[in-house]
């Protein structure tokens, strides 16, 4: 019996299958078929199927304008913004494994990330990725503007884009506080001080003193929008928790949802813009 097996192996070694044959064997096999539901995408039919039957790829149309896939046209900036967002999601989750948003631990968790994790660059990937995303989103907006791609029928996708731009900045801003060092605390203090001056809603804003009931002021230092944002009169542990939740849960969910709509709309509005 052993003899028989050895002979079979020898036989197989003698006529090595071509890479082509291996590829075909895999792409026609049951496992591949069960996952992708079509053969290797090198025929028109399978290329169409590749896009249509994949939940991620089907955000794309099956075919696009040739001019629309050129780097000189889109600068890849929309895609890059999305790639950076994905990178931030992954590295952000890893950072969350270590980081505790309390005044007692936050700073030392960050120090530990630097000092105790071998080759630890998760924080760097996350921070530089965040800066890069802000830049990429600006440049994406710039290219969309310069190609006039906000013109009908893409007006509303531009509006969604502006909201995404705002969310990107807010994500970056809320994240800035989390290292809980002097840089973080005072940048957020400078930034959030503005809220005190919100017309009507901030206690140092114009009109706020008009909101009174029977001589009792409604908008005070302890009840205005600045207080609500910080959870206190100044940046404190309560602020850290608020920003942490906004940064890690709320804004990413909203942004991801809007991105899905944004991509869907690119497709529904006729794919990447091009001259008529």
């Amino acid at each position: 019996m052993l003899e028989g097996l050895k002979k079979k192996i020898d036989e197989m070694m003698a006529n090595k299958p071509s890479p082509e044959a291996v590829k075909n064997a895999i792409a026609e096999g049951q496992i591949w078929k069960s996952i992708f539901r079509h053969g290797y995408p090198d025929t028109p039919r399978n290329r169409i199927m590749a896009v249509l039957s994949n939940v991620f790829l089907h955000l794309h149309p099956v075919k696009v304008r040739h001019s629309g896939v050129k780097m000189s046209y889109t600068w890849c900036m929309g895609g890059l913004s999305f790639f950076l967002f994905l990178n931030l999601t992954v590295t952000g989750v890893l950072l969350m494994f270590y980081y505790r948003p309390t005044a007692e631990y936050a700073y030392y968790d960050i120090v530990a990330l630097r000092e105790h994790v071998p080759l630890g660059i998760m924080r760097e990937l996350h921070r530089w990725g965040a800066h890069a995303m802000v830049i990429a989103v600006w440049l994406h907006m710039f290219r969309v503007f310069m190609t006039g791609s906000y013109k009908p029928p893409r007006e509303f996708n531009w509006v969604i884009g502006v909201v995404l731009l705002l969310l990107t900045l807010l994500l970056s801003f809320t994240g800035y506080l989390l290292p809980w060092d002097q840089l973080a605390m005072w940048a957020i203090t400078v930034g959030t001080n503005m809220a005190r001056a919100t017309p009507f809603l901030g206690y140092e804003g114009p009109g706020a003193s008009m909101l009174q009931v029977g001589g009792v002021k409604l908008v005070t230092g302890g009840s205005d929008i600045h207080f609500a944002l910080l959870g206190g009169h100044f940046v404190s542990e309560a602020t850290l928790l608020r920003f942490y939740v906004l940064h890690c849960v709320f804004i990413p969910i909203v942004a991801a949802t809007l991105m899905a709509i944004h991509f869907w709309r690119v497709r529904k509005d006729g794919g990447i813009s091009g001259p008529l």
Partner: protein, 364 residues
């Protein structure tokens, strides 16, 4: 060497910086045919790089530029520069073709459709890998900053917002927080959202062009380059302790004192102009601020219709756009102009507030 550094430092102040960037902007638009030529563009890039390298010999400048959180600003400045070039280059080429009755370059391939798999997917794939490697290298080379543990006990000086908000922080020099920190940012967002509904020019959709969309591109680029990117640069490199202005190679002196003798409009009006009447500043804030309020009202309500009637160009715009769109456009344009106008008033006549009712935090 010291002499050159001193001369450069003394050339820099908010006024020269603003007018410098304004002149640069105008020149950029005017000479777009020239600098978009790759050869000249490369020379300009070379010049900038050499200047930057020379500047790095200065200890102070090097300290600030190599602060790890400021590195992204260089990436942004060079990125914005490069992509401004790329878009203007393509616009200039297309404009030449359009002038000869040819379609834009994009048209040559826009009717042809290619499969997403593989033509788009592989571009995405390669871009992902390149971006991933770039980010990895950046992260390996440069540590994320970490200063001392946060404390309310002492305030660093200068205290700066994250870099992407420095343009807004710079506005605080000229306007109170309720305008610079709340109203103007909201208007920027609303204004950006309004662009597709204001710009009814059907031309220039889906290809690069300048000539066909001048009046859309000019205000957008002015806002983006002169009022946003360049103010971020100013806020990072030229604003030091106390938010005082420093030259690029000037040590940040904690004790630099800048005399602020700014004067309110009410004082100009009641004390300086009507001083001979001897009434002084009225106690009633409404009367006291009447001149300033009238001025603001005139700027926002009376000036636009008057200008529109005077100008054939604006009249044509009004006819093409309809009243509602035109009104929104003019309001946004006048709000954007409010920043440079206040800058000019501050620099020329040391005007502090046009309307000042500090009792209710209403200062303009």
């Amino acid at each position: 060497m010291h002499f050159i550094v001193d001369v450069i430092n003394s050339l820099f102040n908010p006024v020269t910086y603003f007018f410098g960037s304004l002149i640069g902007f105008v020149a950029m638009i005017h000479y777009r045919e020239k600098w978009t030529e790759p050869q000249l563009a490369l020379k300009i890039l070379g010049g900038v790089v050499v200047a930057l390298i020379l500047a790095m010999f200065n200890d102070h400048f090097r300290d600030i530029s190599t602060k790890s959180d400021n590195v992204p600003i260089f990436i942004m400045v060079f990125g914005v520069g490069f992509f401004t070039w790329l878009s203007f280059r393509q616009a200039v080429v297309n404009d030449r073709r359009l002038a000869q009755g040819q379609p834009p370059v994009e048209k040559e391939t826009s009717d042809k459709k290619v499969y997403v798999w593989p033509d788009l997917v592989y571009v995405e794939f390669i871009a992902t890998i390149v971006a991933g490697i770039a980010l990895l290298v950046w992260s390996l080379c440069l540590h994320a900053p970490l200063e001392e543990s946060a404390t309310q006990a002492w305030t660093p000086n200068p205290s700066k917002a994250p870099w992407y908000f420095l343009g807004l922080q710079e506005m605080l020099v000229y306007y109170d927080p309720w305008l610079a920190g709340v109203v103007f940012p909201s208007l920027i967002v609303v204004g950006l959202m309004a662009i597709p509904y204001i710009d009814k020019n059907p031309k220039g959709a889906g290809y690069y062009t300048f000539n066909e969309r001048k009046f859309a591109i000019l205000p957008f680029m002015f806002g983006f380059l002169v009022l946003w990117v360049s103010l971020i640069f100013l806020g990072t490199f030229l604003r030091g302790p106390g938010w005082n202005f420093f030259g690029p190679f000037e040590e940040w002196d904690l004790h630099k004192v800048v005399v602020l003798n700014n004067v309110n409009l009410s004082e100009y009006f009641w004390v300086k102009l009507l001083g001979f009447l001897g009434i002084g500043l009225p106690h009633n804030p409404i009367i006291r601020e009447l001149p300033g309020s009238l001025l603001i009202g005139a700027y926002l309500i009376a000036l636009p219709p008057w200008l529109t009637k005077k100008s054939a160009f604006l009249m044509g715009l009004l006819e093409r756009m309809g009243v509602a769109r035109y009104a929104v456009l003019i309001f946004l344009a006048f709000s954007m102009a409010a920043l440079p106008i206040k800058m000019l008033l501050r620099w020329s006549i040391h005007l502090k507030y046009i309307v000042a009712i500090p009792e209710v935090f209403f200062n303009i």
